[in-house]
């Protein structure tokens, strides 16, 4: 973490050095710096897409996990197919599929809606597996103890299993958020104007692809650094609350 902060500082120093006074021969950030507000606005869209898909992905992931752990073989198989499919096919292919196929069955979705649906469904497959790991990680003795104490099945799930599985998955929330921020760059391909797409537009209008993609990459890096830092803070607080 400290090293990544140092990396951010070094990159910021590099940006500082390319103030018009120090114009380099080949790398010239000044034109791209002018479009920095555009990039920052777009970064907000990237963050919102990632947050929305994280929430939807988690809600759907709970359903997927419940299906995988259910007693019915039909539900189990369906969930397994879901997980295998959405983890086995590249997200880009899923995005293109949704984007091209939906109009042909008469559904006209905006590219933003298509992007959020595709990424959420894909994320649900990953989250489902994470949560399943959380549930399976609970010692079977606890369930026996719960039954001994006379807890019903539903209250066992709600009071014993779910809180523990959630605590396990909270630490994976951070890494999922970082993955989603990176993965959300793919939705630029179907025309959502988030950070990557905006960088593309700026590259096309200023003829400075290196600088514009460098700035976009830097913004992604800073966002991910902040998310990782927040996650660390949250985890510390959570483990403290758990201990006391």
């Amino acid at each position: 973490m400290r090293d990544s902060l140092l990396g951010i500082a070094a990159s910021l120093a590099l940006v500082g050095q390319t103030h018009p006074k120090y114009l380099g021969v080949m790398i010239n950030l000044s034109t791209t710096l002018q479009s920095l507000p555009l990039l920052l606005d777009a970064a907000l869209i990237t963050i919102s897409i990632s947050l929305v898909t994280l929430v939807f992905g988690f809600l759907l992931g709970i359903v997927v996990c419940a299906m995988r752990l259910s007693a019915s073989p039909l539900l189990r198989t369906l969930a397994l197919i879901h997980v295998r499919f959405f983890r086995g096919v590249p997200l880009l292919v899923q995005l293109l599929m949704l984007y091209y196929l939906l109009p042909s069955i008469g559904l006209n979705l905006s590219s933003m809606a298509a992007a959020i649906i595709a990424v959420s469904i894909c994320e649900s497959a990953y989250v489902g597996e994470i949560l399943r790991g959380g549930f399976l990680g609970i010692a079977p003795g606890q369930l026996e103890a719960a039954r001994m104490l006379g807890l019903g099945r539903i209250s066992t799930v709600l009071r014993i299993q779910l809180p523990q599985a959630m605590r396990l998955s909270v630490s994976s929330l951070t890494s999922e958020m970082i993955i989603l921020i990176k993965v959300s760059s793919l939705v630029s391909v179907i025309g959502v104007t988030e950070l990557t797409r905006t960088a593309q537009n700026i590259a096309a209008s200023t003829y400075r692809p290196l600088e514009s993609y460098f700035m976009a990459g830097l913004i992604y890096f800073v966002i991910n650094g902040i998310v990782a830092w927040l996650g660390m803070l949250g985890e510390k607080r959570l483990s403290k609350a758990h201990q006391s």
Binding site: D3, S4, L6, G7, A10, M26, I27, R84, F85, R87, G88, V89, P90, L91, L92, V93, L96, M97, Y100, L101, S104, I105, I178, I181, K182, V183, S184, S185, L186, S188, V189, T196, A199, Q200, A203, R208, P209, L210, E211, Y213, F214, A216, G217, Y220, F221, N224, G225
Partner: protein, 220 residues
């Protein structure tokens, strides 16, 4: 919607060529990434602090930015600093750079999992540094890191789809091209999904097989 696979059979040559490019960029990119990653992790073990910090920054930067941005920087930004690459080499290099950071972390985890005492014992017995890495560390860490390696290799196989964005004529690029020309998206997407699922399943089977082999070798 009726499904007619003549679109696929008519373009079979282009599709198999695209699949070949997917396989080629994936295998070449993975091989390069593995070598780079191993080199980075070994350098991290034995080099001075500034070099270690530089490598750490490389890993953090590659892991902290999207693959698509890295590809754009390499392919569209490269010419500004005199690096002009065709799509296929640019894509392969992009995969190699992206994978190397993750592989380096996996290797580092593997190296760290070997107790220090073993290395001290190796030095006591007169093994050189490289012999200790090659004969003591690598064989033992293999068993620990094979699942993570397989996982990353599978991720790389899926990332090859992103190469279509920088105009590499691989499976996704070729098939979506056929799709936009013929509007036969359903057929195209069935073939796309089957292609990638086959690749992923095959890789994970090979991974399990290697895991068993390495495990057997270690238990004796």
């Amino acid at each position: 919607m009726n499904i007619d696979f003549s679109v696929i059979t008519n373009n079979l040559d282009a599709i198999t060529h695209g699949f070949g490019i997917t396989l080629g960029t994936w295998l070449a990119g993975t091989a390069l990434a593995l070598m780079l990653g191993l080199a980075i992790s070994v350098l991290q073990l034995y080099c001075s602090r500034p070099i270690r910090m530089g490598l750490r920054a490389y890993i953090e930067i590659v892991r902290g930015t999207p693959f698509l941005i890295q590809l754009f920087l390499l392919y569209y930004g490269g010419p500004s600093i005199g690096l002009e690459l065709d799509p296929v080499p640019a894509g392969t290099l992009g995969l190699a750079i992206y994978g190397s950071a993750y592989f380096a972390e996996i290797f580092r985890g593997g190296f760290n999992s070997i107790p220090k005492g073993q290395l001290e014992a190796a030095t006591c017995l007169g093994l050189t540094r490289w012999q200790a890495i090659y004969r003591i560390k690598l064989p033992q860490m293999l068993i620990i890191i094979v699942p993570a390696l397989t996982n990353m290799i599978i991720i790389l196989s899926k990332e090859t789809a992103v190469l279509s964005v920088i105009t590499v004529p691989e499976l996704t690029g070729v098939l979506t091209g056929i799709g936009t020309a013929s509007f036969a998206f359903m057929e195209i997407l069935i073939v796309l999904c089957l292609g990638y699922l086959a690749l992923v399943e095959l890789t994970s089977h090979v991974g399990h097989w290697v895991e068993r082999r390495v495990g057997r070798f270690m238990l004796r």
